[in-house]
Amino acid sequence: MSAAAPASLVETDDEALLRDAARGFLAGADPLARLRAMRDEGRATDPELWREMAAMGWAGVLVDEANGGSAMGHRAAGILAEEMGRTLALSPFTSSAVMAATALAGRATDRLSAVAAGDLSYAIAVDEGPKHNLATTALAASRVGNRYRLDGCKRFVADGGAADRILVLARTGGSPGGADGLTVFDLEADRAGIERTRRDSIDARDAADITFNGVEATGDDVLGDEGNGLAAIAPAIRAGQAAVAAELAGLSAGAFAMTVDYLKDRKQFGVPIGSFQALQHRAAHLWTHMEVTASAIAHAGRALDDDADTAQLAVSLAKARAADTARLAVAEGVQMHGGIGMTDAHNMGFFVKRARVATEWLGDYGHHAAHVARLRR
């Protein structure tokens, strides 16, 4: 496809329909109210909401039709992620429907169809330090006869507390810092020796440290080729980065919409605060930021659909821009709301917190900006 003229960056009619449907469903589901209730009850997952999403086919958006999916592609996945971001809808969508579905695609397994149906959820366990970095993987998968034994710890794994299965990146060779010698294992989360500790994440979502204490595995558990785990996991990471970028763009739009409404409604000194020129200019600047980021999001989806192997530049560009835009959108969101935006009773705080967590997930601004520069050189 890449020799042809690139697809338009404007939404197709199909995509617009998908967006409308998603937005309509989410407006009815009121995910923000659900998130608040869950947070107050100390729950970090919302299986009921995910079941409804799966019933609408969202879990299978990237899965081929033979496995029960709709194969609508990454632009479509981005649209769903964006709409979920706008309402802070909580689900294992990115971990399962985007990352696991991408990793499992084309492999002989019935797990893919279970993912597409929303019956099976995954967490992707890669990072061991506080910042995203695949190469520093140290978790050891030692060969013991024709079996493996996994020892080590993965930190702050998104959706890691509730996932049914875990894709874990382990080291079967080479040494930490090197890209070689990595291997991906696909394990049920309750396998003996796996211990999961819920982290009390500021965004009230499921995150867990996962410890592997002499976990036994066999060659059947290996996804892709031993020693070449980066090739097996990279497409999934890349797709996940694009989805998180889209989520952040949606989150920015959601925070911005609240803010603009507030600027129109809220009166001070007898006039709507949105009539103050300084706030108008800042709001216009923020909208400009969002519009420019929106182009990078659309492009990332197009690039993944066109030729996923060469899409890293487009994806990193999207994640960098989306993180930058979200930072500005929530900062202005709080400041422009004044004191009320600082109260827990107001929803803006949920946007602030999710923006921070999603910015870190799979690489922050500097990580991706450096990637962009490296890939452009």
């Binding site: 506080p130 009390d200 809220r266 900062a331 004191g339 935006g341 107001h346 870190e360 500097g366």
Partner: protein, 386 residues
């Protein structure tokens, strides 16, 4: 160097007194916010040393060193006050008593209060027997402080107060509140406001804590439902409360600016980041910028303090300190969160910066938003046209 013999003597005697009277547990760095002594009727001392230290300092009037001795203060000159602070700092002596009564209401009463009010309220403040909170902001008023809706109606020898305040720090722990109330609904809004003192134990006063996005907070909503307030509790002129409010706002800005400086102290940003082994060019550059800005802001606080000591008032420039300090504090915590990565994303655990980080988001809102500060600078300092 001109040596001031009297001051040298004061320094020596102060050092000796502190050495003798400051209990050992009340010395040294690294104490937490929980250990601050706030005083008040319901105060539970966290230790015997805390109680003794407060009593001894209060007896000398050194909880309010510059207030006149007739109201229980220390009666010190500016130079003596500085010596006291230096000598306390030298041995790491803690502040015996915080803060809002001493720093806010006291100076206002000294400036605007009647003789009877000074005699009644200042000594208990000095002794830490009465804890105060501030009732300015109202729901829906935001930056428009003069838009006070809480009303005080004349009922002969007393006012009847009805309405609601928000962002009253520690209202649930205070003995009394100083509040802006509307006493003339027909006057232009700045001219119908009065400044009154209200006993928090009065019938009809209730409070409700405000939870912030950063978690628990000292802030409350405070409700007044047909509260009787004796007329003798009016400070200054009837409908003349705005002048007092403005006076206190300037004080508050300096406190918040100074507070930001406190947070900024300690280790260099670059060394904090250095430890985390970050290899991110953007975080590295942000760290350099934050380090430069932090040091320059610290020097600016020092320069304005020097100016104050030289007898030059800070005045409207407090708006600049408030703006610069709070925006910088947000910048600094944003940076530390980025450097902390996923380690910084939880509510608790080692390195859990998140609550402090979220709390800084309010710095540029409370005590006058950054937008209000910029407006003050533009119109009062730069004299740009309205």
């Amino acid at each position: 160097m001109v040596v001031d013999n009297a001051l040298a003597h004061f320094r020596a005697s102060t050092a000796a007194w502190l050495e003798e009277n400051c209990p050992e547990p009340m010395r040294g760095a690294g104490w937490s916010e929980d250990e601050i002594c706030w005083g008040g009727k319901r105060w539970q001392f966290t230790s015997d040393a805390q109680r003794v230290w407060l009593e001894r300092m209060a007896a000398k009037g050194w909880t309010a060193p510059r207030w006149p001795t007739e109201y229980g203060g220390g009666g010190l000159s500016r130079a003596q006050d500085k010596v006291l602070a230096e000598e306390m700092a030298r041995i790491g002596a803690r502040t015996p008593l915080e803060r809002i009564g001493l720093r806010m209401l006291g100076p206002a009463l000294l400036e605007f209060g009647s003789e009877a009010q000074k005699q009644r309220y200042l000594p208990p403040i000095v002794r830490g027997e009465m804890r105060w909170c501030q009732g300015y902001s109202e729901p829906g008023a935001g930056s428009d402080l003069a838009g006070v809706q809480t009303r005080a109606e004349d009922a002969g020898d007393h006012f009847v107060v009805n309405g609601q305040k928000v962002w009253t720090s520690y209202a649930d722990k205070a003995d009394a509140i100083f509040a802006l109330v509307r006493t003339d609904r027909d006057a232009p809004k700045h001219k119908g406001i009065s400044f009154v003192l209200i006993d928090m134990e009065s019938e009809g006063v209730s409070t409700r804590p405000i939870r912030l996005i950063s978690g628990k907070s000292p802030f409350c909503e405070t409700f007044f439902d047909d509260v009787r307030v004796p007329k003798e509790n009016l400070v200054g002129e009837l409908n003349g409360g705005w002048a007092i409010a403005k006076y206190l706002l300037t004080h508050e800005r300096e406190m918040i600016g100074g507070g930001a400086r406190g947070l900024l102290g300690g280790r260099a940003i670059s060394s904090i980041l250095g430890d985390s082994g970050i290899d991110d060019p953007v975080i590295a550059a942000d760290a350099l910028r934050t380090e430069v800005d932090t040091l320059a802001f610290g020097l600016t606080m020092e320069r304005y303090k020097d100016a104050a000591e030289a007898g030059q008032g800070v005045g409207d420039a407090s708006a600049m300190l408030k703006y610069a300090g709070t925006e910088l504090n947000k910048q600094r915590y944003d940076l530390m969160m980025a450097a902390g990565g996923s380690s910084a994303l939880t509510w608790d655990g080692e390195g859990a910066l998140a609550p402090e980080w979220l709390r800084t988001k309010a710095n540029s809102i409370e005590g006058g938003t950054s937008e209000v500060m910029l407006g003050i600078i533009a119109r009062r300092i730069l004299e740009l046209p309205a």
